[in-house]
């Protein structure tokens, strides 16, 4: 009799936990497949952060951009991202930034640490000098593994900049550092005269996306204006990272980020 009562109480408890887990899952919406395919129901929110659970890893991403100047000189810029993710989807990224290219290149030489905690719905940017963790609200969305990511024209750019983007071409699948990756490639053209150019500017992007880790493992971007950028994820380890990496150090003060000066 006592055994039956104990069994039924365990059954009720397990059921409650399962319902709670489903309720938590339901609270996190699916990520939109791409900005161009966004609908009124599924549209990217500001500060959307992808939540990938059950796929812990740590790796080093290296981005190298080589720009060839008109006089033949080459400028090489290299930035790295050391990244960690635990089974619950928390992430830590350490951006070692040396230089960011563009019409006016930015020399930085600093390391920025960012922790994303989807459960707390907060992003922390650690400022070691002042022992401050600046907090920013984030909106987690769940990646739908059945949807293959598209190569798309990425973050918003000026609407007046004309650009013709080809349909993504699938490059098949292959193994890369033990990870199954799927490749896609798009070509983009800025027509002659759009930015004062007398000939069309051809650009391309090729990306290899890890199907298990759900991150970009390799990418090549070619843009005659800035040169060629190659990105590669190396030192991939699938072990569960140390939980302390995803916590704000105890001696840090949390301060919310100042409100933006008007949304763009």
């Amino acid at each position: 009799m006592a055994l039956r009562r104990r069994f039924s109480s365990w059954f009720v408890l397990a059921g409650a936990l399962a319902l709670q887990a489903r309720a938590d899952d339901a609270a996190i919406p699916d990520c939109p497949p791409s900005p161009s395919q966004a609908t009124a129901a599924v549209r990217p929110e500001p500060n959307n952060v992808r939540l990938v659970t059950g796929a812990p890893y740590s790796a080093l991403g290296t981005s190298k951009t080589v720009t060839t100047l008109p006089n033949g000189d080459r400028v090489v810029r290299e930035n790295t991202i050391r990244q960690w993710r635990d089974s619950d989807g928390r992430t830590r990224s350490e951006f070692s930034l040396s230089s960011i290219g563009g019409p006016r290149p930015l020399e930085i030489n600093t390391t920025v640490t960012v922790i994303d905690d989807p459960e707390a719905r907060e992003r922390y940017l650690l400022q070691p000098a002042s022992k401050v963790a600046v907090t920013v609200p984030i909106v987690p969305c769940r990646v739908n593994p059945s949807l293959e990511p598209d190569l798309s024209v990425g973050p918003p750019r000026p609407a007046r900049l004309q650009m013709q983007v080809s349909t993504p071409v699938k490059l098949g699948e292959r193994k890369m550092d033990g990870e199954s990756v799927a490749g896609s490639r798009v070509e983009a053209t800025i027509p002659a005269g759009a930015i004062g150019n007398d000939k069309p500017i051809q650009m391309s992007a090729e990306q290899w996306y890890g199907k298990d880790l759900q991150v970009v493992v390799e990418a090549i971007y070619r843009d005659p204006r800035t040169g060629e950028t190659r990105y590669k994820l190396s030192e991939i380890h699938r072990a569960e990272p140390d939980a302390r990496l995803f916590r704000v150090p105890d001696n840090y003060t949390r301060k919310p980020a100042p409100a933006p000066r008007g949304r763009r």
Binding site: L97, L106, S152, G154, P155, S204, A219, A257
Partner: protein
Amino acid sequence: MENQENHPHLAHLARLYARDLTQTAPSRDLDARIDQLVAGSRMNVSAPRLRGSRLPLYAAAASFAVLAVCAGIFIGMRVEQARKVSAASEADSAWPPADLTMWPTDSVSFKIPAEYTPQGTLVAVDPDSQHARYWIDVVVANDGTFRIVQIVPADPAQKKGGHDGVAPQIQ
């Protein structure tokens, strides 16, 4: 003597005039009328004083005009400043490197305080430094793209905003 023996008609008229003259007495209200006339002329003289009493009105109008001119100058400066900001932003955003990225991807937006070097490049600086003249909005992503989104002149009032360098940007 001849003159004393006037024409009888003239002599008659002269007698009448002499009689009227003896009967004529100064008007009793003459003084009052003179006072009234003098008072009237004083009122006319004091009219400019009345105009003088409108001085505050003119001062207020002049102040308003000065205020309007100042407001015009201020608005003009703000418009010019905004034009410079948008020109800087447009100049950069019109030339976005690495426009192509994969969706979904994980990106982080930063605000980085910086100043221009004589060579025309930007160098990150301490925001409390006197040289922090610009905020650089940067987006970095784990697909290998590192982009400068826009360059915004720093507001001197926000220099001591409590950040010790790179700050997150709410997207």
